[in-house]
């Protein structure tokens, strides 16, 4: 196995529900090696999104860490202050969210919002930033990037928005990208193209990408490693071919049957 990029050890997230504690992520161990595509597969409510966003230390209100460590770049993210986390988010770990119509602020242009990330994390001057934005958009497969960068989010199609979102995620050259259901709102052909883009970017930028998805078929197409989650636990993890061809856990078998692979 290659050098681990991010390591999650004995990690548990809980939430208080009517003064009864529910554990959403249950004592999970996960090691993600560098420069790979890791798919986190599971049904709805399996805790995969919570686990994914934990790596950015983003928790929806009410959630809290019960236990564990997330080691990234030699540091335990869970112990870092909010201020230190701000330097890691976007700069070291980027994120691609599910629905880019909601994740872009409707009152600013696409270019403006990508530039915002650069403004936060780099010392580039304004003209250089704008150039960089256009380059990032072209890198994410948007033709006519200059025009698109002056568009507002609602003026773009779903596929375009997702590409722009990816451009925003890679803007500050992070090592790791966490993509939460990046293609679930797109049609099949667009989905395939976006996945191609991910593969492409991984090779070009030496990225590690964690894709959170419910679609095992998607994971098969793109992932080097797969972890299957059920009810907050990782029931099976390993190289994609191993998990897909000889699944050990009952739930993995069920998933494979259901997705008709």
């Amino acid at each position: 196995m290659r050098e681990p990029l991010i390591e999650i050890k004995d990690f548990a997230v809980g939430v208080m529900d009517n003064s009864i504690e529910k554990v959403i992520v249950k004592w999970v161990d996960l090691t993600v090696p560098g420069n790979c595509i890791y798919a986190l597969v599971g049904g709805s409510g399996s805790g995969k999104t919570t686990l994914g966003l934990s790596m950015l230390k983003l928790f929806t209100p009410g959630l809290y860490v019960k236990k564990g460590e997330i080691i990234f770049g030699g540091r335990n993210l869970l112990e870092l202050s909010e201020r230190d986390m701000q330097k890691i988010r976007g700069k070291e770990i980027g994120a691609v969210f599910q629905d880019p119509l909601d994740t872009f602020n409707p009152v600013f242009t696409i270019g403006d919002q990508i530039e915002e990330v650069l403004r936060t994390h780099t010392d580039l001057e304004e003209t250089k930033r704008q150039k960089e934005v256009i380059e990032l958009l072209s890198l994410s497969g948007i033709e006519d990037a200059k025009r698109i960068s002056s568009y507002y989010p609602h003026q773009l199609s779903g596929g375009m928005r997702q590409r722009a979102m990816i451009a925003q995620a890679i803007a500050a050259k992070p090592k790791l990208i966490i993509a939460d259901e990046p293609t679930s709102n797109l049609d099949v052909t667009l989905q395939a193209r976006i996945l191609e883009l991910f593969k492409d970017l991984r090779a070009k930028l030496n990225l590690t990408i964690i894709i959170i998805t419910h679609d095992l078929g998607l994971a098969r197409d793109i992932a080097d490693y797969i972890a299957v989650m059920k009810e907050g636990k990782i029931v099976e993890a390993g190289e994609a071919s191993a998990v897909l061809e000889s699944p050990e856990h009952e739930y993995s078998k069920e998933l494979i049957r259901a997705s008709g692979i």
């Binding site: 983003l58 629905d99 994740t103 009152v107 990330v117 925003q168």
Partner: protein, 367 residues
């Protein structure tokens, strides 16, 4: 096809502006308001006299009427001379003296002033040659031109509204944004603080705060003190509403995304939360400006605001507090018309902006 594209590229703002333009009354009000503001900016040029130019021979002189007829013939507009006499009850009577005629002149040399604060100038838009005096709105007790003083007073009264609203809205937006964005204990603390401010009746708080200001302040200091006092009272209610909006806005996906990209909380509040409250804030600003103008007028009216000889609309009206004066010199109420017009204009514009900025209202109107 090209037409379709044009429509597509209309921004929300343009759509709102078009909606606003359709409201003819509001456009009229906007024009009137612009005229009022321009007249305040160029007050020293438009008014024939300086605010403290007095002539006690003309105490409570009624408004001078422009005459264009003399001996049954049309002539160049002029004003007649006036002579002060007293009737049996020792009341002032100004008799029109037809033998003295002062034609209206433009670009008259008069009191020195600095146009826009830096151009030295002594020309006034109109006036008459001395010893004649032109009183469009009549004169006050010391024979000062109420028209001139109203123009000068507009500077104080109109600017206090704008500056006051700027300060209190800046404060309200920021405090409300912080309160709503962080939630929890910070929110609780800030909101209880706001309620403490809102609990005290506004006018009494105004008086109490004014009492806290040293009474040896000069007029400029008093001016800024009043602005601060007014904005100090105004921010709380806005902060509450913005806080409510921020509470829902912080749940938006793009706020989470912005956080995920490492933006600081302050940046997120300013760039990703507050802009969405803007359509509400804009008309709320418009609708709250009259409050500041009236607040200043109220303070000046009871003698706690701008002091004589400096003029503000409220200060000018303080002369009109006794019924006898109003009865014999009703023209001292002219500044009240200006306050009235300004307040109406801001309200109409505010309502019109609400109609065109608030999508919910739009649907209701269609129904």
């Amino acid at each position: 096809m090209s037409r379709n594209q044009e429509i597509k590229h209309q921004s929300e703002l343009q759509i709102a502006l078009n909606g606003f333009k359709r409201n003819k009354i509001a456009v009229g009000c906007l024009i009137l308001l612009s005229v009022l503001y321009l007249s305040a900016i160029f007050a020293d040029f438009i008014s024939p006299y300086s605010y403290d130019n007095e002539d006690r021979n003309y105490s409570y002189c009624p408004p001078t009427l422009l005459s264009i007829k003399h001996d049954g013939k049309f002539v160049y507009p002029y004003i007649s001379g006036r002579e002060l006499t007293f009737n049996d009850y020792r009341q002032r009577i100004y008799k029109i003296d037809q033998t003295k005629r002062y034609p209206i002149k433009f670009m008259v040399k008069g009191d020195k002033y600095k146009l826009l604060g830096f151009i030295k100038c002594r020309y006034h838009l109109f006036g008459v040659d001395a010893p004649g005096r032109i009183y469009l709105f009549g004169a006050d007790s010391r024979g000062r031109d109420i028209f001139s003083r109203t123009m000068y007073g507009g500077r104080v009264s109109l600017s206090i509204g704008l500056i006051g609203v700027l300060i209190s809205f800046g404060l309200g937006l920021l405090v409300g944004g912080i309160s709503g964005y962080y939630g929890g204990r910070i929110d609780n603390f800030i909101m209880r603080l706001c309620e403490m401010f809102m609990m005290i009746p506004g006018f009494y708080l105004l008086l109490a705060l004014r009492a806290a200001v040293p009474d040896n302040f000069n007029s400029v200091q008093v001016y800024f003190a009043i602005i601060l006092i007014l904005s100090f009272i105004g921010w709380a209610s806005l902060a509450r509403i913005i806080r409510g909006m921020a509470l829902t806005l912080r749940e938006r996906e793009y706020v989470l995304a912005a956080k995920g990209f490492g933006l600081s909380d302050f940046n997120i509040i300013v760039r990703h939360v507050l802009p969405h409250t803007l359509s509400y804030s804009i008309f709320a600003v418009m609708l709250s400006i009259p409050g500041y103008i009236l607040g200043e007028s109220a303070l000046s009216l009871i003698g706690l605001g701008i002091q004589d000889p400096f003029a503000s609309w409220g200060n000018l009206l303080s002369d009109a507090m006794s019924i006898i004066k109003i009865k014999f010199a009703p023209w001292i109420l002219f500044p009240a018309i200006f306050i009235f017009l300004t307040v109406i204009c801001f309200n109409v514009i505010g309502e019109a902006l609400r109609d065109c900025l608030d999508p919910m209202m739009k649907q209701e109107r269609k129904r």
